[in-house]
């Protein structure tokens, strides 16, 4: 599978086949994490976080691959793990982060920063009821229409679903505000 194949699959929401290609990059990340105070589980978590950042970037219409997926993913995971270690007040051992070029590092740092704020919102979202999460997800991620959502989730009317959606957004915002301030 070429890089472009993987990206095309992601753009078409075909995550299972895309993962078959992406999974090949796990072992190196694992090796790096294991070498630097991490466990297998942590390595997989970091890898998945890295995947989220990469895929989130890849689904954007204006996405351009500046480095190979290999380089990008490996670099993201390394930086993520460094942040993780920093939180735990640990430093890495003798192994330093190896990155190809500084532009890429800048780009990745920016991506991680963006993802942080999305992650914050995601955490605020998790505290919500199941139905709320479902409405928002179907609308914003799966891009279903409100009409489709209303029938799928058993709302009496489209309007009812809409109102529910507003209330859900409002709730997340409140949760988020509480976290931020």
């Amino acid at each position: 599978m070429t890089d472009q194949d993987i990206i095309n699959l992601i753009k078409e929401n075909k995550y299972n086949p895309a993962m078959k290609g992406l999974y090949a990059y796990l072992p190196v990340v694992k090796k790096f994490v294991l070498k630097n105070n991490g466990t297998r589980q942590e390595a997989e978590d970091v890898f998945q976080e890295g995947l989220v950042i990469f895929c989130n970037k890849a689904i954007k219409s204006d996405f351009l691959l500046t480095a190979s997926i290999n380089t990008y993913l490996y670099s993201v995971c390394k930086l993520l793990w460094l942040h993780e270690l920093k939180k735990k007040n640990k430093t890495i051992k003798n192994d330093f982060i190896e990155l190809t070029d500084l532009n890429l590092v800048d780009e990745i740092n920016e991506d991680i920063e963006k993802d942080k704020s999305a992650k914050q919102a995601q955490n605020a979202l998790i505290k919500l009821g199941e139905k709320c999460k479902e409405i928002l997800e179907l609308f914003y991620f799966k891009k279903l229409s409100m009409k489709e959502i209303a029938s799928k989730l058993g709302f009496a009317s489209e309007k009812g679903a809409k109102n529910q959606k507003y209330r859900c957004i409002e709730k997340v915002k409140e949760n988020l505000k509480n976290e931020l301030f």
């Binding site: 998945q48 989130n56 330093f96 704020s117 995601q122 997800e137 914003y140 209330r167 957004i169």
Partner: protein, 818 residues
């Protein structure tokens, strides 16, 4: 607040009317609370998307993971190998914002901190001193820190993580705020920014290994020339005085190497002139690379030139003979390596050490870094006093710095190449990767396209070769016709361009030398590369250039071999055709002669002598008198196809056989590649060819026979046809119509007996072959013409001698078969 949410949602979903939208956007600008809500909501949406994505990915991750459990170890291994190949050995250190960190003692080990030290924030980087590291500060200074560049008090590289502290004031306002002075010995400086660097292990200050310095790439807004780096000297009152200016190198930026133009000068222009699509790099590449190995064309007939054991399959002696022709051009560029050392010991060693140690004069270590670039060093060695008098800044400074009123001795007696080898020795560039006379095995010293192919690729993307600056130099390198110069750049990737330029300038003479000195004067720097990477690329280059040369050689030799065998085939085919055509023509001739004889004797009322039956009549000697007269007339009639009008002088009887002209005029004759016209008499076993004059076919018709005229035209892969049945002695204007080859056969079959049909088809097929062969020859001729035209561009020095010779060989070969 829910109202906010509703309207924001509608806005984001694009559900607002045009006016509401404008109002909303205006509100957004003015209402801070709304703006906050808006941003929050965008964040929420991002969060929702992330959650969705995360769920999807986690699910598919688990699926794939379970499937991959088997054979996991194998995949892990394969990927590890791939990654190791992909990661370049440049490290980024951890970036710590540590404004609160301030050390007790400064870099000099005292507590004499300036105002600026206290006001400017520290940026702290942790790095491994044993590895190459690149860091970028907040304002964009990029420090390249080679491995082992920091030393502790014992002069050893510490085996511990070190703290690199950097403070910077890069804008005028930062400089003002920090209270930094811009004074150098009471003179005002125009500054491009200031920075402070110090490295420590714990509290211990480290020093920088002078032979292995850090490199700082400082961003400068207005690209001012002559920017200098000043050293900050701490004054007792806490001020900083700026002293000891050094010129700064220009930073090189790598670009996409495949987008650069590594062809010799005018190569693309010429291709364009000839009519090639120069945007098609595959095409232009294939043309250029096909010149690989062109210097020993005559070997193309041999199956392989490279036998895999050495670079060249032919003997060393042979290559020496071959390079002799070029000896005159290059002999003065082949230096005696010991010469520089000898000159140094004889003339310089009394006052200068090669190291840091100062004798009467300064130690020469790091010379090229210190002194002005270009011709300066050369002129200085020749006559430094002249330069001092002329007011040269650096020459004067040298006198001051070395505490003497006098300059150095004068060495005007040095010859150019002596100075060159001396400089090479002093600057240690003798230890560089210079392979003089590197072209052994390539037959001539020209830069073989295989070498260019070996560097013009992604492997070299992060090197000095992937720069506009190198592209410019390469154009000049081609003109040196000396592959050693190219190798100098390729094999010293870890050096600065200006250093390589300086060394290159010592290896050539005349205008080219000034050109390289001019390059050196630009102070173009380098591109950071680790030693291992540099080494890897060198062997990559060596390996690939041989592989490419071999590949091109194989392909060309295959091509020429194929052409040769095609030439042979054509030669044989033409021979056979000539033979067969001769037999056929003589057969029809004797048939017609016999017919005419019969008729002549019939008209004369005589009996034809038996001898004439023989088909070999043409060559028979006529020794008899009498009736033989008739034979002679009939013979000449048949040969010339003119009317026989013979009267027997004894009997007064006449024999008349009329020949009358027929003309076939082919419409649009010029539109065809080739036209043939066959006269097919009913009384002969084969055809007769009509004579072709311009666009017209002519022949004389024998009244004794009924003839059909078949005219066949060829254009491209199409065949055209016309048939005149029972042709009369007229002028015909015929139009040819297109016909399929199979139909042609059928048509001939309908009109003529089998033997005539077979003969005509045979001839038509031969014509088709001739057309193809002519096109092929024309193509070869075209190609060779183009190749010869491009040759002086690809190999600027090999203008006449060899190419002419090889073109001759080719022409001779072709002449054989034409």
């Amino acid at each position: 607040m829910i109202n906010y949410t509703i309207i924001i949602t509608k806005y984001i979903n694009g559900e607002l009317s045009e006016t509401d939208k404008t109002t909303f956007e205006r509100e957004l600008q003015q209402d801070v609370a709304l703006k906050k809500e808006f941003e929050l909501q965008l964040q929420v949406i991002e969060g929702v998307k992330r959650l969705g994505l995360k769920k999807e990915l986690t699910a598919s991750f688990k699926t794939v993971k379970t499937k991959k459990m088997i054979g996991k170890a194998l995949i892990g291994l394969a990927v590890t190998i791939a990654i190791i190949g992909a990661v370049v050995l440049i490290n980024k250190s951890i970036h710590k914002n540590a404004s609160e960190v301030l050390y007790e003692l400064n870099e000099q080990g005292n507590a004499n901190w300036s105002e600026a030290d206290k006001k400017l924030e520290s940026q702290l980087f942790n790095l491994n001193p044993l590895r190459d590291t690149i860091i970028e500060t907040r304002s964009g200074i990029v420090f390249s820190i080679p491995a082992n560049s920091f030393l502790n008090k014992q002069g050893e590289v510490p085996h511990k993580i070190i703290d690199l502290e950097i403070k910077e004031a890069m804008t005028p306002s930062e400089i003002m705020k920090a209270g930094l002075s811009t004074m150098s010995n009471e003179k005002l400086l125009e500054t491009g920014g200031m920075f402070y660097v110090n490295a420590r292990v714990g509290e211990e200050n480290l020093s920088i290994d002078k032979n292995n310095p850090l490199n700082a790439n400082v961003p400068i807004n207005n690209n001012k020339k002559d920017m200098m780096l000043f050293k900050g000297e701490r004054k007792a009152d806490g001020r900083i005085n700026w002293i000891d200016p050094k010129p700064m190198k220009k930073k090189l930026t790598t670009v996409d190497i495949t987008k650069l133009n590594f062809y010799p000068e005018h190569f693309l222009d010429s291709l364009k002139e000839i009519g090639f699509d120069i945007k098609n790099k595959k095409l232009t590449d294939s043309i250029y690379y096909s010149y690989s190995g062109y210097c020993h064309f005559e070997n193309y007939d041999l199956p392989t030139r490279y036998d895999g054991e050495s670079e060249s399959g032919y003997s060393f002696d042979e290559s020496i003979t071959k390079s002799k022709a070029y000896g005159a051009v290059f002999s003065d560029t082949i230096p005696q390596t010991s010469n520089g050392e000898r000159l140094f010991k004889q003339n310089c060693a009394v006052c200068h050490s090669m190291g840091k140690q100062k004798l009467t004069g300064p130690g020469l270590e790091g010379l090229l870094d210190r002194v002005p670039k270009g011709e300066w060093l050369k002129n200085y060695i020749l006559n430094n006093n002249k330069m001092i008098i002329s007011g040269d800044y650096y020459a004067k400074k040298l006198v001051d710095d070395n505490g003497g009123a006098d300059g150095m001795g004068e060495f005007e007696f040095f010859k150019n190449d002596e100075i060159n080898s001396l400089i090479r020795y002093i600057t240690h560039s003798e230890n560089w990767n210079i392979d003089y006379n590197n072209n052994v095995g390539e037959g001539c010293s020209e830069i073989d396209p295989a070498r260019i192919k070996a560097i013009w690729n992604k492997e070299f993307r992060q090197t000095i070769l992937a720069t506009k600056e190198f592209e410019e130099r390469l154009k000049v390198i081609f003109k040196t016709c000396n592959a050693s110069i190219l190798n100098l750049y390729v094999k010293n990737l870890n050096k600065n361009l200006y250093e390589i330029d300086s060394v290159a300038s010592t290896m050539v003479g005349g205008e080219l030398q000034s050109k390289f000195l001019e390059f050196a004067a630009r102070q173009d720097g380098g591109v950071f590369i680790s030693d291992s990477q540099s080494q890897k690329l060198q062997s990559y280059f060596e390996e690939k250039r041989i592989i490419y040369a071999k590949a091109v050689n194989d392909a060309l030799s295959k091509m020429y071999k194929k052409e040769l065998s095609q030439n042979n085939d054509a030669f044989n085919k033409r021979n056979i055709q000539m033979l067969e055509e001769g037999i056929r023509a003589s057969k029809t001739f004797s048939e017609e002669l016999e017919l005419n004889m019969d008729e002549a004797y019939r008209q004369l009322g005589e009996k034809k002598p038996q001898a004439f039956v023989s088909a070999d009549y043409v060559s028979a000697d006529i020794t008899q008198t009498g009736w033989n007269n008739v034979d002679k007339y009939v013979l000449s009639t048949t040969v010339n196809r003119t009317t026989l009008n013979y009267t027997n002088p004894e009997s007064g009887k006449k024999a008349i056989i009329k020949y009358e002209p027929i003309t076939v005029n082919v419409n649009n004759f010029k539109n065809y590649d080739r036209v043939v016209s066959y006269m097919i008499p009913d009384k002969l076993s084969s055809f007769q060819l009509m004579k072709n004059i311009g666009s017209v076919f002519k022949e004389n018709l024998n009244e004794l026979m009924n003839c059909s005229i078949v005219t066949v035209g060829f254009k491209g892969d199409k065949t055209f046809y016309n048939e005149i049945k029972l042709a009369k002695a007229h002028v015909y204007l015929v139009d040819l119509t297109v016909i399929k080859n199979t139909d042609l056969d059928k048509k001939l079959n309908l009109s003529f007996p089998l033997n005539q049909q077979t003969d005509i088809m045979k001839d038509i097929n031969y014509q088709l072959f001739e057309i193809k062969e002519t096109t092929r020859q024309k193509q070869i001729q075209n190609r060779e013409q183009i190749r010869n035209r491009l040759l002086p561009i690809v190999f600027p020095c090999a203008t006449q001698a060899q190419p002419a010779a090889q073109a001759d060989t080719l022409r001779q070969k072709q002449a054989l078969f034409n």
